[in-house]
Amino acid sequence: MDIQIRGVQKHYGSFHALRGIDLDIASGELLALLGPSGSGKTTLLRAIAGLEPLDGGQVKFGDIDATGLSVQERKVGFVFQQYALFKHMTVFDNIAFGLSVRPKKERPDTATINKRVRELLELVQLGGLEKRYPAQLSGGQKQRVALARALAIEPRVLLLDEPFGALDAKVRKDLRRWLRSLHRETGYTTIFVTHDQEEALELADRVVVMNRGVIEQVGTTDEVWDAPSTPFVYDFLGTPNVLPARVERGALLLNGATATLATAGAAPEGPVNVYTRPNELRVVGDDDTAALAGKVVETQRTGLLLRLGVKLLSSGDVIEIELPHPDPAVQRWQIGDSIRVRPSRYSLFPRAVATATEESGYDPTLTVTEHRERSRT
């Protein structure tokens, strides 16, 4: 089922957690909400589930306006970060819970519930463990029970909050692959929250990058990697070099006119920041007049990459370059060597003259959960 989100607003006390979110999710899509803690990604997920009452805006499931519906009426499958399994119930009873609490006339008979639970156990590859209690399961198994429990009610959408957050790296990788194939098999519209960019980009059809209650960018893995639309997205997906520059009459002046690069498309006139990733910088010869000259101040070999710290002669800033290594074409760089580099790809963003001050009531040392708790009391 497709989901439409329009102008969704949420405050916790004076903390503005969601600032007018608009988002369309196609039926059957696997979507990631990606962002740092405090970005509002979990709040948005909970708002879709109806676990957070909204201060404004609308959530629609297909043609159904879900805004006024209770959590129970929304019929969403929600998988919690810490699984939230019922500890006193067996795996079987956990999965059957959603069916067994239905009002009498809608409740399937025992045989149907049995059959359904067994199908789900097979689907999540936990056949034979139905009599176990959650305490007797591994983290990955608990996660799959939580998923089966959510699927039992045949939800309109499947929502997962940091689904792999509490698992170790190996299990996480396996579960990720498995979830991808499960999604292909079942076709549920699925939204998951993560702060792990790798997870989001590997798993999702589209990624929603969020920051401080707004959506920074929505796009496929390729789109957010190749064309980050804001400095935040650049920063969040890797560690770009930021070079102050100016655009004058359509030309980019880098480092006080020492280097001129063709501007990509229509660039804003005036002060800008050039964002370029360490692997997008190329070492060039002395004849390249648009290059940035500098000195190597740091070399570090990490696996198949060589990282160089380069101190620019013009500004004294240190930028980082990544070169493939070993590479016969690459000379053995030593600290103190002169080097000339040039960005092969970059993006320009207008440079704010003064940064906006923090909005009142926003305490960056508090997590969203703490804001949520505070506003409850």
Partner: protein
């Protein structure tokens, strides 16, 4: 395991000195009566009445405490209200108050010319100097046991669980009944057992409000004192030994019940 011998040795020595030897003394003294004599003492009408009053009233008080203690714990965990910390401190008062003070205060309140007693007297209910008064005193001293055992467990029940139940379509009463109650139940049983044990052994706060009429409102611990004052040491220890065995059996049963519940959690 290094240090096992000294620590285990100390534990057993301590347990022996403080608990086991005095208890053994009770049985040793009581055994002086012989089986027939013992049986005669504990089946005498007055002793039977006192024992059933002590255990019966304690059971009723513990049930009341389990119900209302659970509600109090719920309120403390889930709600914020002005003066919460003050109320929180009040809960522990029965722990700290000298029991005689509690007894005198309760008697003053519930006697026929006391604040509460006079109102109840109009309704024809007599509290002080009746078994009802004993239940009131036992409930008073037992409440913190339930509140303080249930509270931390209830705090541990994650909101996630309730939200998970709601997303699965469970209505509120289903969540309370099927998700929260089973999680809290073992601690409630513990609180019940502690409150019950305390009430059975309670002396100071009860004897003032009980009136202590033989066969009506005379509790077993008081009967032990009476027998001691009559220099009937063997009779006194016979009653004491009976209370001990009964208490032990009850606590054992409760513990087994709890172990059975825990195994499923």
């Amino acid at each position: 395991m290094p240090g096992l011998t000294p620590t285990l040795g100390f534990t057993l020595f301590y347990l022996g000195m403080i608990v086991l030897i005095p208890l053994a003394g009770v049985f040793f003294k009581a055994s002086g009566l012989g089986f027939a004599g013992l049986w005669k003492v504990i089946t005498s009408e007055r002793v039977l009445a006192a024992l059933s009053l002590s255990f019966g009233a304690a059971a009723i008080a513990a049930v009341l405490n389990a119900i209302f203690g659970a509600i109090v714990a719920w309120v403390f965990v889930r709600y914020e209200f002005p003066g919460k910390r003050l109320f929180d401190a009040f809960i522990d008062l029965p722990f700290a108050l000298p029991t005689a003070v509690a007894g005198i205060a309760l008697t003053a309140l519930y006697s026929e010319n006391g604040w509460i007693g006079s109102v109840l007297a109009h309704a024809g209910i007599k509290v002080a100097y009746t078994p009802l008064g004993i239940i009131v005193a036992m409930t008073f001293i037992g409440l913190p046991f339930v509140v303080r055992t249930v509270e931390p467990v209830l705090r541990e029940v994650e909101r996630d669980l309730e939200e998970a139940a709601a997303t699965l379509g469970a209505r509120r009463w289903q969540t309370v009944l099927r998700v929260i109650a089973p999680a809290v139940f073992p601690s409630l049983v513990t609180g019940f057992a502690l409150s019950f044990a305390r009430a059975v052994g309670e002396y100071g706060s009860v004897i003032f409000i009980a009136g202590n009429f033989p066969m009506v409102s005379e509790i077993a611990p008081l009967l032990i004192i009476i027998k001691l004052e009559e220099f009937d040491y063997k009779g006194a220890t016979a009653v004491a030994a009976t209370m001990l065995v009964l208490s032990f059996l009850l606590l054992l049963t409760i513990n087994l019940l709890q172990a059975w519940v825990r195994r499923r959690v």
